[in-house]
Symmetry: C3
Subunit: 342 residues, 3 copies
Amino acid sequence: MSKTNSGYFFEDYTIGQVIEHAVPRTVSGGERALYHALYPARHALYSSDEFARSCGLPNAPLDDLAAFHVVFGKTVPDISLNALANLGYAEGRWLLPVYAGDTLRSTSEVIGLKQNSNGKSGVVWVRTKGTNQRGDVVLEYVRWVMVRKRDLDAPAPETVIPDLANALSVDQLVVPEGLNFTNYDFTLAGEPHRWADYAVGEVIDHVDGVTIEEAEHMLATRLWQNTAKVHFDAGARDGGRLIYGGHVISMARALSFNGLANAQIIVGLNGGAHANPCHAGDTIRAWSEVLDRAETSAPGVGALRLRLVATKGRNAGALKGEDGRYLPDVLLDLDYWALMPM
Amino acid sequence: MSKTNSGYFFEDYTIGQVIEHAVPRTVSGGERALYHALYPARHALYSSDEFARSCGLPNAPLDDLAAFHVVFGKTVPDISLNALANLGYAEGRWLLPVYAGDTLRSTSEVIGLKQNSNGKSGVVWVRTKGTNQRGDVVLEYVRWVMVRKRDLDAPAPETVIPDLANALSVDQLVVPEGLNFTNYDFTLAGEPHRWADYAVGEVIDHVDGVTIEEAEHMLATRLWQNTAKVHFDAGARDGGRLIYGGHVISMARALSFNGLANAQIIVGLNGGAHANPCHAGDTIRAWSEVLDRAETSAPGVGALRLRLVATKGRNAGALKGEDGRYLPDVLLDLDYWALMPM
Amino acid sequence: MSKTNSGYFFEDYTIGQVIEHAVPRTVSGGERALYHALYPARHALYSSDEFARSCGLPNAPLDDLAAFHVVFGKTVPDISLNALANLGYAEGRWLLPVYAGDTLRSTSEVIGLKQNSNGKSGVVWVRTKGTNQRGDVVLEYVRWVMVRKRDLDAPAPETVIPDLANALSVDQLVVPEGLNFTNYDFTLAGEPHRWADYAVGEVIDHVDGVTIEEAEHMLATRLWQNTAKVHFDAGARDGGRLIYGGHVISMARALSFNGLANAQIIVGLNGGAHANPCHAGDTIRAWSEVLDRAETSAPGVGALRLRLVATKGRNAGALKGEDGRYLPDVLLDLDYWALMPM
């Protein structure tokens, strides 16, 4: 009997199944420093303990996307080892900040199944929760992937397609306890623009670009204990190593500082698509579009719904062609909620 | 007089000589995070403080191999700066876990000398000890290297060849104080296989591969303050930068998680050979062979003696040719003891 | 209105203007570990908490140059985003060690302005101060850069050229409180040479070389939150990514351990020139020249004024051609004061 993990195949999933993912992880100042080395991350709340305290938090948390990557990475051996494609995200919520010293683990529940008409694969929907050492859920999200069947003769499961929100409403967002932006220091944060300065429909070109190297995306992907071999083994697929989609998300988010320096905290992930593959040598740029605005009950805290687009091109605002498909240089189309001083 | 270190030459060593190596090093969560970024390391005991506590330790220690690299790195300026070859290891024992905040230093004693028949070089055997800030020895090992002579007319020393054990016996292994695997969580650790599931002679193909980049092996080697110029200066030797053998050891060990996730703690190094040089662009794979099994007196803790082979090829189990020499794609042949839940 | 930062242009600066730079940064053991991974840094005082304590400090501080890079990085969006050249440094002083847990921020005052005769650009002198979370100044330096004008018709400001010291005198240097080298352990530090062993005019070839990779200099530059696009975007200028000058400074300083292992603490920066651009693939070497020696009032602590030269070549001691210009393989010419056991 083989001792190595061959992963789950489509017929291994059943509705309601709960998978406890392996390898809990304690994070420290080391992960925070590495996040700053890997991405041009400058949001002040995540860079400075003092700034975080001035906003009512006990310390600077680990970047929200770093917390996401840690939780996500654990799911890879069970959810996406035999995946043909990562299809989407929905209903992602950050429920608690993660601090140095916290230990994270992940659990996923299968909430949807649909075999493809070719009988060779199917779509699996899971709701993943990341919990800390006290058992509190720190974030949750739904992801769906297309997974191969091991046995093509295995019977198709009953089709269950979960009913997922197109976008979270503002009352579903969780503002970190104690957060208070009434004494927010715009000078230290890096930009004067407050929530009221952003208009729905506004498009922001984040200007800067970063050319990606193999060593960097592998360091990042390993740091989150993501083991998908396509990211590491140059011979695993034609065209060379595929860059982990989360690396593109973090790069684009960090680049978006230039124009969205005050979109401090990510609290909701409404959806996301990895529109085209990214490879070493690509130069990533980013642009954002303001999709919605809402007030929260926390003092001085507004919420902005943003589309974040990563692209290999320079054409901010261009997303899809006349055929409705993503343009070839679009890498990522992400829809999220961020908290901002009003 | 030159102020730079020209290193020791063969005639500079004498039996019984004790060399106190320079540059003590304090480790922190930063080194732990970097180890996870550099290698696909997932053994739960080193990833999670909570998991380590559930096994009776106060916190997750620094990876055993990271501790080895720190101790080893300090010896390079005195032992291997003028080395022609790193010939072998023996009698390596991890005596105490290393935790964030510990400060390590290294000392070596010359225990063997044998001039080569060509009169131009000789073999030096040293027993190296790493100690922490309390003066406790955290690990020790014997290494032998072939070192150039500075002065070819220097007389040959009396030949002393140390009597080294082929392998440590289980009673020579030191189990960390308090270690208890009776409540071991196999789900969180990532695999169900326990000590009793492994049979002597069993070969495990660890499946995954990682293509190595220059930036990564240099980051790793510098992190351990290993200064051997062949790893950093592209012009120092024909064929480009030689990858530090310890980088291959750590990569192979991390890859071996897939099939040996519960071989949590390395406690003994019986021997090791860097069979062929490794360069950037090589894709490293690994396989293991179970060499021996033993019980320990600690609750629920068994010991497994393993051969860990790193290779550029895909032929798990293939080690040497008919001529008794390592196959050209074998990079590493390591013989170690690990602790595992029974 | 654009929300992104277009930076300051020459006509935006006025004498006496104080610019508070954004994004404070808390450092931890993570930044220390990364500094050791990025550079072959081995000065014992920065590597070992125990060694630092034996010299009268509470713990190993963050490397002086890492502190410099953090403070410098914050100034980039306001000072050098539109800079055509980084022209020089003067009167740099390290006033307090930086420890894990400290939060740094930066402020610059404009102290000099001179429009170029072509009317298209001008030189701006700023005095930058880095402060910690208690408001104490941890370091300060003067830098001058050539900056583009946005509006070529903007009137030239009155020319003010600050009166800058050619070199700091020893009584302007600040020795860290409590520093005491009377029990200095030369063995653990790595070299026997003390202050009295260095003669003015002595040239030291630091021997070792490091070939630079794109991934490494980008990791380093991002770690200091330096956002200048020429370092990251392969298409931003002809000839590919330009390596941040500070990366060359840190690499050369770390290489200088071999011959200057006891030049532990950098306390003064008298001047510096980035003589030629550095690119990935270059192999950096370093040599030093002893420029001056002085005693301090701290027990056992001497000061050495050193010229540190980074070069792509192998000709230690060669700096300028007959035309008085830097030789083409000289990358850096830095003039600094370091503290050393007497």
